[in-house]
Amino acid sequence: MKVHIKHWSAVAQWRWNTGNVNHDQDDEGDVCGICRVPFEGCCPSCKMPGDDCPLIWGECSHVFHMHCLLKWLGTAASKQQCPMDRRAWVTAERKANELAAS
């Protein structure tokens, strides 16, 4: 039998590589601890997910929507601490690339 393909469409799926290996079967998946929206969605002040609403990693390994975290660090109440462990927030610049390479 010969099959002629006349038309095809590709479907792709993406997700942020958060370094959390157990995320696949979670009931709610990985959500930003600040806004509770999945990482693959965007923060509440953005319209489109993706590069315009990226994630941010801390040296402490905690991950948030960048906009959510910056908003928190912008408040006096934050004392510049990570919302998860209250350590001083230090952004881990190359974390994403390292994870991708490993």
Binding site: G33, I34, C35, R36, V37, P44, S45, C68, K71, W72, T75, A77, Q81, P83, M84, R86
Partner: protein, 218 residues
Amino acid sequence: MDARLRRVNKEIADCKNDKSSNIKIDLMDSSPFHLKGSFPGPQDTPYEGGHFEVDIVIPDSYPFQPVKMKFITKVYHPNISSASGAICLDILKDAWSPVLTLKSTLISLQSLLCSPEPNDPQDAEVAKHYTTSKRSFDETARYWTQIYAGGPLVKKMEVKEPQRDEIAIAGLEKAHVDQFESLGFERSKVIDVLRRLNYRGANVANISEDRIVEELLK
């Protein structure tokens, strides 16, 4: 839909789906930002068997500002105002973090009932009672749980000794109140003065009867 509303809706739904935590969140009125949380009193504490309700107000800048909570149910606890239900707990003030949720905050309140912190009191009188006589404090806390939080045994005691209520609620001994009442002072005044002077447990020995009469005559 604004971020705050979306997050609160999600939190209410999450709490409904979680049957294991025993924490409930309900609407208070038509606003999604004024809620009522409730949880059972923790086991092996004077609050066991009670059902405690908390008034929850979600501020405009939630989750960047802490949620406002106070007890609706009257609670006898060093870190909870016996008059207003106001709560002294760090995460409701300067230790708030946006990753805390309504559910996790209510769980923190539940564990506050397990571990009072009398050195950082919200109600100084109750804290004084707690530090002077733990046993008498426990008795009063248990009594308040029965009276206000629907704990067990409430009906039996009310029928038996209706007069005991206000004395027990104040954590005092009936004999002490009777003693000064028999001098001709009004019962409510006696209770008020004895409570104010913390005439309880070991502290009784530190306060002379003259001092009490002096207060009663004021």
